[in-house]
Symmetry: C2
Subunit: 110 residues, 2 copies
DNA sequence: TTTATTAATCGTAATATTGCAATATAATAA
DNA sequence: TTATTATATTGCAATATTACGATTAATAAA
């Protein structure tokens, strides 16, 4: 089917999955790392930096923007994309709660 | 195309994406949370707990096992699945390095 | 206005993922 | 041996994702 049955999961579970899905492609990981590294960017830089076609990068950027992890300001003919640090921090809180489950001490069972 | 061009990314970027992809479905998030919660489990419990069909759960478990995040021991006719805590900790290190990029202080650009 | 330049959108092909019915496999019980 | 129980595998349909050429839109420069 390819259709995720979101209604049978909690909002938290769906939110974790949405963020994780965004990081589930190396191009988006690379884009985010690059944005953090130079702390400002235009789409063209990313195209030459990463090696995918311009429409592909644009599509990945759109997804990240839709999730709120990045924001873009138009500067002339180019667009200055950067990390939305506030939303990034909020995302980290959501993901940490999931990733740090192992910190509540329990026995190993098998 | 639907084909990720992994060869143009670093091993680290691909590894982050692989883990993230595993968390990119609420059923797998739910399965992992459940395994942490009861610290032991058989597949049947998960089927009734989550509400997806048995083959679907089995498939999700297979993916998580393949990634090394869980392990399964056969106990009679059932299988005891549980978190592989060592590999979970290793995964967290990989993910944290990515998620904590914002901790290196920089200016907001736009 | 015309001509770059840059990024977004559209359309589409190829591949991946999700979900489940049907079936197979494996271990145990009767 | 023959059920029974529990999980895995197979096969397939439906949907999602990825990638990119072609085009469009918007601004800047000439």
């Amino acid at each position: 089917m390819g259709l995720t049955k979101t209604e049978m999961f909690t909002d938290q579970q769906n939110e974790i999955a949405l963020f994780a899905k965004a990081f589930g492609h190396p191009a988006r990981v690379s884009i985010l790392q690059h944005l953090f590294k130079i702390d400002s960017c235009v789409c063209g830089d990313l195209v030459s930096e990463i090696g995918l076609a311009q429409p592909t990068i644009s599509q990945h950027l759109k997804e990240l923007k839709h999730l709120g992890l990045i924001k873009g300001n138009i500067e002339g003919t180019s667009v200055c994309y950067c990390i939305d640090k506030e939303n990034w921090a909020a995302m980290k809180n959501v993901m940490s709660e999931f990733l740090d489950q192992d910190l509540s001490q329990k026995q190993e069972c098998c």
